[in-house]
């Protein structure tokens, strides 16, 4: 506990680890259970029964829910600590400036004063460490270079695991743990069908009817726990590599949960699609990581930002760094500096230039000093230059600018994949194959928001070119997805496209510099989209897994709680004033309006969100109306529909309350007064201001660094207020049009079942547009034609080349060898052997003439023997007779 009070950041670490503990507990239990089932002994049988036996139990759900609820509690406690230590961060920044300054003093002061400076430096450093360690910590995780790496390499060869708690982290933690807890509770009800010992999957047909399998209740919560850990770890991470690892972990969880009913072809296809599409994005992510690793040498966010962004002041903490833009000098504070490295008189200088193809890296070891103490003298072009504090000022201090752009875009590509942005948005609608709580948690509230989160987290990394790409990608995504959502009939698909569209809003906001707006919308969207998904889940559960809205209708009296909470969600997403969506969405529109005002050539970035606000309202009301009002379209579904149990409705109510109130502040009508907005605003990095904060205003900065923020805050507030009115108005009008159309087209009276306008007619009037929307802008077909089929074709070519070309050459050479061998063999056989055989055959002929003496029959030998005996006897007797006679 004392460790926790000393280092309150550890609350969040604990909150992260808790789901992991739950996951490990569950998976160990599962392993043990399986092991116990495998062997047959009384002990094992008992163990098996104790661990759940053959029937899935609710224990896993309780463990996982408890863990995530505890996580929420930890996050809350940590957040309270964080709020009460709000001043620490400023203090740390000040101390760091001081330390930096003290270090630079060594060069200027005489040697006698060095011990004194050292002592001061030590005190300052100790204070920095004390304050930092409250919210920051890291441990060495891997050192690929090992103990043999040189000192220079050592910095770049160590991978850390660490955490850094800031406003963004805290907000994200609260949001993720709260929603995850509610969804866990909801899931206990929703997944109750999986408690059966044998679940029949009506969508999978086998030879003998439908597939029957064991219930996977425990497995679901196992995956959820792993996911929660991964997501929290992603948010917690203080470095890109840790983010990447968690990124992949949430990816695999998403894969596992989309494919939860993996026996269904559609589910397994969707899981694969999600996985592969994400891999495309991750390829970009990895490219970005490698560029950063190569040129910056660290993955730690803070260090990266410090390296690529210029400091606010010089190393003495007195003068703002300036450069000349359009003939006048502007401060360089917190911006990416494009400059060329020049060596003059043995001194290395950076010559600032807008056309410079190098981005300067501000290594902490580089001493910055503004030469000219007089700000009035602006004729000198070399107002500022760099001196290396240490003599080994090397090439890592600058990097090609285009590579920095590429790094930012690479990481953004990863976010595109994860957040389902155009053109990698195709997987998210298919991911609705997963159970609805999964859609709510992973594919609406948290994981898909991780892309947006990462863009926000890595915001200083993005150059202006990258940001405009982000903005346009977001704009295209939000419009395209909204148009597709209009024609969807599957209730979850509507919500899926809505999610894509809303994520596009966030991306757009980030791209146009609305860092706060983007994150704000991320939080509010997480609540109301989770609510909407859970409501849809409740509907689906109530209607026995019927997802087609064309079979629903008139469900309002049957499930009032669901309908009302869903109406709250619809109103929120539609931007009804005083609902949380209103604050965040209007803020985005206002932000884009502000950007367009500065850059009128990008007027689309304002037009698209405004129009889409109307479309959003239209399709959301369409969905609600089709589901809950009018005449029931399918008697069967209607008759069986019923309200869900309390475990499901209570989370809905809680989420509805949050959807309404999460963004409230006083006065209610002022979005800038929202508490959530303020909290996020405090976490906004300086670099946002540097890029979008209004250059003119920044030019009027005072010299003292402390003044910068106040000034910017004030100016932005002023700037935002001027634009909010217009943005609100336009969005409200668009939304109103959307509502009207929705009611005209889809509100049926209960008696007649007729609408004012017939959707069929509308469809027939715009057949091309309808086809375009219904076919999702032909993205799947396009990818199939552009990527899948060419890949297959190329593979076939390769195969054919392999078979005919390579094998042909090999076989041909083989045949040549055989032919040559034949000739050689002929010579060998008939000329060389011929001589030998001639000699042999002569010998053979002689031998065969001689061999006739021997018959080879033992019987004849016996006869010969007898004959010989007779002959001997005859001769003997003859001689004996002769002898007797003689």
């Amino acid at each position: 506990m004392s460790a926790l009070s000393e280092q309150p950041g550890l609350y969040f670490v604990v909150a992260t680890i808790l789901p992991m503990v739950s996951f490990l507990l569950l998976i160990l239990t599962a392993f043990l259970r399986h092991a116990a089932r495998a062997c047959d002994s009384p002990l094992c049988n008992t163990l098996y029964r104790v661990l759940g036996g053959g029937r899935p139990g609710r224990t896993a759900a309780y463990v996982a829910t408890t863990a995530i609820a505890l996580s929420f509690v930890c996050s809350l406690v940590g957040a309270i600590h964080f709020a009460s230590h709000g001043q620490d961060h400023h203090r740390i920044e000040e101390l760091k400036e001081e330390a930096h300054h003290l270090e630079s003093e060594f060069a200027h002061r005489p040697v006698e004063e060095h011990p004194k400076i050292e002592k001061e430096l030590q005190t300052v450093n100790a204070e920095i460490h004390r304050l930092e360690s409250k919210w920051v910590g890291r441990i060495e995780w891997a050192n690929p270079a090992g103990p043999y790496g040189t000192k220079k390499d050592a910095r770049a060869s160590i991978l850390y695991v660490g955490y850094r708690i800031d406003n963004l982290t805290v907000v994200m933690f609260l949001m993720v743990t709260l929603i995850a807890t509610l969804i866990h509770i909801f899931s206990i009800g929703y997944m109750s069908e999986e408690l059966a010992e044998e679940v029949e999957d009506h969508q999978v047909h086998t030879a003998d009817g439908h597939l029957k399998r064991r219930g996977r209740f425990g497995r679901f919560f196992l995956f959820l726990s792993l996911f929660c850990f991964s997501m929290l770890n992603l948010v917690l991470a203080d470095n890109l590599f840790q983010v990447f690892v968690s990124w992949e972990l949430v990816g695999i969880c998403s894969y596992l949960l989309i494919g939860f009913n993996y026996e269904r072809q559609s589910a397994s296809n969707a899981a694969n699609k999600a996985f592969i599409t994400n891999r495309v994005g991750d390829a970009g992510f990895v490219i970005g990581l490698l560029i950063i690793w190569t040129y910056i040498g660290t993955f730690n966010f803070e260090e990266i930002f410090k390296t690529i962004r210029a400091p606010l002041t010089d190393s003495h903490g007195v003068r703002p760094l300036r450069t000349k833009i359009d003939g006048e000098y502007v401060p360089l504070g917190a911006r990416i500096v494009r400059a060329n490295l020049v060596v003059e008189d043995g001194e290395k200088k950076l010559v600032p230039s807008q056309t410079g193809d190098q981005a300067v890296l501000f290594s902490p070891k580089v001493h910055l000093h503004v030469e000219d103490a007089d700000p009035g003298d602006e004729t000198d072009e070399s107002k500022w230059y760099l001196k290396s504090f240490y003599p080994d000022f090397d090439s890592t201090d600058s990097m090609p600018y285009w590579l920095l752009v590429a790094a930012g875009l690479g990481i953004f590509v990863g976010c595109v994949g994860k957040s389902a942005q155009f053109p990698l948005h195709v997987w998210l609608p298919d991911a609705m194959e997963g159970p609805t709580p999964v859609s709510a948690l992973i594919h609406a509230a948290t994981m898909v928001a991780a892309g947006v989160y990462l863009v926000a987290r890595a915001f200083p990394l993005f150059t202006a070119e990258a940001l405009i790409v982000i903005a346009y990608v977001g704009g295209i995504t939000l419009f395209v997805a909204a148009t597709i959502a209009i024609v969807q009939t599957d209730i979850k698909k509507v919500l899926a496209y809505s999610t894509v569209s809303q994520l596009g809003y966030m991306m757009l906001a980030l791209g146009v510099g609305g860092w706060v707006a983007g994150i704000f919308h991320l939080i509010t969207h997480a609540f109301f989209k989770a609510l909407l998904f859970l409501c849809s889940g409740s509907v689906i559960f109530g209607c026995h897994h019927e997802q087609e809205m064309t079979k629903m209708g008139g469900l309002f009296p049957k499930m009032k709680i669901t309908a009302l909470t869903m109406l709250v969600g619809v109103l929120t997403i539609a931007g009804t004033p005083l609902f949380s969506g209103w604050y965040s969405k209007d803020m985005i529109v206002a932000q884009s309006l502000g950007y367009v005002r500065l850059h009128p050539e990008h007027f689309l970035l304002f037009l698209l969100p405004v129009v889409t606000a109307g479309i959003t309202t239209f399709y959301m009301f369409r969905m609600w109306l089709m589901t809950f009002t009018g005449k029931p379209r399918d008697k069967h579904v209607f008759e069986h529909a019923k309200e869900s149990p309390a475990t499901m409705t209570i989370p809905l109510i809680v989420l509805a309350v949050f959807s309404i109130c999460v963004a409230w502040g006083w006065p209610l009508h002022d979005p800038e007064a929202s508490h959530l907005n303020k909290v996020i605003h405090h976490g906004q990095p300086h670099h946002v201001l540097a890029d979008f904060g209004g250059l003119a205003e920044l030019g009027e900065l005072e010299h003292a660094p402390g003044l910068v923020f106040k000034h910017v805050e004030r100016s932005e507030r002023y700037w935002a207020l001027k634009l909010h009115g217009l943005a609100e108005l336009s969005a409200f009008v668009a939304a109103g049009i959307g509502v009207i159309f929705a009611f005209l087209l889809y509100y049926q009276s209960r008696q007649t079942g007729k609408t004012r306008l017939d959707p069929e007619e509308a469809r027939e009037q715009f057949p091309g547009v309808y086809a375009l929307f219904a076919n999702k802008w032909y993205f799947d077909e396009l990818y199939s034609a552009l990527l899948v089929r060419p890949a297959l074709r190329v593979s076939q070519w390769c195969k054919a080349f392999d078979l005919r070309g390579i094998d042909g050459v090999i076989n041909g050479s083989g045949r040549c060898t055989v032919t040559l061998s034949r000739w050689s063999g002929w010579v060998d056989r008939y000329i060389v052997d011929g001589l030998v055989n001639l000699i042999a055959s002569v010998s053979y002929g002689v031998g065969s003439w001689l061999r006739r003496v021997q018959t080879g029959y033992i019987r004849s030998y016996v006869l010969f023997l007898v004959l010989a005996a007779i002959g001997v006897f005859a001769i003997l007797s003859y001689f004996l007779a002769m002898a007797a006679a003689g």
């Binding site: 007898v866 007779i870 006897f873 005859a874």
Partner: protein
Amino acid sequence: MSTNELQAILFYLVAAITALCAIGVVVTQHIVRAATWLLFTLAGTAGVFFLLGADFVAAIQILVYVGGTLVLVVFGVMLTAQSPFISLRASAAEWAIGTVVGFLLFGMLAVSLYSANWNFPEPGQTASPKNSMNSVVLGESLLGFEEATPAANMTGFPPGAAPPSRKAVAYLLPFEIVSVHLLVVLIGAAYLARARRRRQATST
């Protein structure tokens, strides 16, 4: 009818059976029948041994030849019994030559037997069952004893009896050699006859 006459009658009877069956062995083309004639030939030979007072040899002849060797031979016949081999015939020319040679050989032997002058001290006792060679004597000579009391208990000499004297020439060593030989033969036969993969048959 004197004992000699009876003896002669028995001899001629047994000898005739033996000789005829021996000729039958040669003449028959059927291998199993040849084995049958051989059985009677061997039995007849055993009968001749009985007539010669060699009961033990006769019994061994029956035991070993009839009960053992001949059964073994028949086993061989059965194991290789395929219709073409049951009766393999030699050619007529071979038969002619064989017959001529056989008569020549027999004639030669008979002539030499009849012309031989056997100088035995005294023709031994007439062969009769009563005077059959005692198997004890055979056993003693095999072991190398000249004389032994044909007393009942051969295992362990009775306390009072004098141990028999040694004979100069004994057949103990040949006996041992034969027994070792038999063992070698057993092992060799087992080795030779063990089942092996058949090679492709040559033309028969």
